[in-house]
Amino acid sequence: MSSAKERRSVVTGMGVIAPNGVSIDAFWKATKEGISVLDRVTREGCEHLPLKVAGEVRGFDPADLIEERYLVQTDRFTHFAMAAANLALDDAHLGRADYADSPFAVGVVTAAGSGGGEFGQRELQRLWGQGSKYVGPYQSIAWFYAASTGQISIRGGFKGPCGVVASDEAGGLDALAHACRTVRRGTDAVVVGAAEAPLAPYSVVCQLGYDDLSTLDDPVRAYRPFTDGACGFVPAEGGAMLVVEEATAAEGRGAPVRAELSGHAATFTGASRWEESRAGLAHAIRGALEDARCAPDEIDVVFADALGVPSADRAEALALADALGRQATQVPVTAPKTGTGRAYCGAPVLDIAAAVLAMEHGVVPPTPNVVDVCHDLDVVTGRARPAELRTALVLSRGLMGSNAAMVLRQGRPSPS
């Protein structure tokens, strides 16, 4: 990304809809304090299923932010994405007046892991229960992976390059990289991120086939990566959207630069082949460092993928050692997602938001529910650790075999 020095990508706005907060402030407070919100699954129709613990987004009413006409034609995953995009645009102070004369200067990119399962289930139940005449026409768009990108683009009037990345959970980072490429090619701003809504009956049943899913019923023990108690991961809903802008364009309109997206690389090593993910993740880390022109010892904090599967945790610890050398055992490693669950493609984007906030506040948030780490890593547990953080490394892997790494650098405060 920094290879085209003249067009750097910076984060000027962030919006979060997460199980531990539906605003940046609430999310950061809970993240910094290491509060776990993992809890029993309460969504209607899911109570009897073997998945017992998840990270649900509660107390969120999309109608507070999004017009009903958009809500009627979209699934919950798009409600999250539209609301998060709204918050990110507000945070970036990027309003219609800024791009009314140049709508092609703003694009949209999202990543999606499963699309609109809840909406799709409802319409398919009508199909088989009442007949094809009872399936609403919005089914044709609501359950697509592309729905969130399309609706954010339509609602905001963004006519710049739009895209959808369907590359597994790590697609959250790949979407950000795609936004950076879009900026490099000439677009001034991209609304980018991912949000997921995998906690509806059909969607949960689809996940029950994953060997890596934790079906423990104790919220404190269900998701404990890097420990001897690791027994899989807990899924979550929600995600984050960012406003990524070309650096001089952001400066030109006086937008505060929250962070720079400095480097990214992605690899693929096959579904559930966690031992092989060691080499794939290490290669992604090296690629991201090279892209960012960053030395291993410049990394001040690592936001780990932290799958919670023993072989995957071991592979991640070894990948860090392979790619960072001695620095791997010295750099603080954290995984705030153990307090919220993994929101599939939304998870690494939430980690990006947490990494930006960590650099801004000079503090590494802890890894909730994790004690007695059994790998050679300095995992931050218990409470947040103050530290000067200039550069962060965020890692993500997907159940289908994708690995990605992204390097972020601290932003510069607004000149005002």
């Binding site: 017009e67 009903e68 006409r69 009627v72 007949g131 005449k133 009872y134 026409p137 044709s140």
Partner: protein, 95 residues
């Protein structure tokens, strides 16, 4: 069924099928404005046509979902004789 679709009913359908809050009086006053100006897209109108077909148990006239304005739509769906023959009735499928 020979019930005529009223503007009140159309407004209610725009709400239920497309999430649009439209005052029936506004529909009456601006009956030649396009559905797009009221915020209704083509899929929304298709949903309204589908709902009317389910309620009436028979297909709407051809091109009902292509009407551009409330006036055109009401004129088409309320025109006697435009109703398809018995043989063209919507087949009852499912439960």
């Amino acid at each position: 069924m020979t019930a005529q679709l009223t503007l009140d009913e159309l407004a209610a359908l725009m709400k239920s099928a497309a999430g649009l809050t439209v005052d029936p009086k506004d529909l009456a006053n601006r009956a030649d404005s396009t559905f797009a100006e009221f915020g209704l897209d083509s899929l929304g109108l298709l949903g309204i046509v589908g709902e009317l077909e389910n309620r009436r148990g028979r297909p709407m006239p051809t091109d009902a979902e292509r009407c551009k304005t409330p006036r055109d739509f009401l004129a088409l769906v309320n025109t006697p004789g435009k109703a398809p023959l018995e043989a063209d009735k919507v087949p009852t499928t499912g439960a």
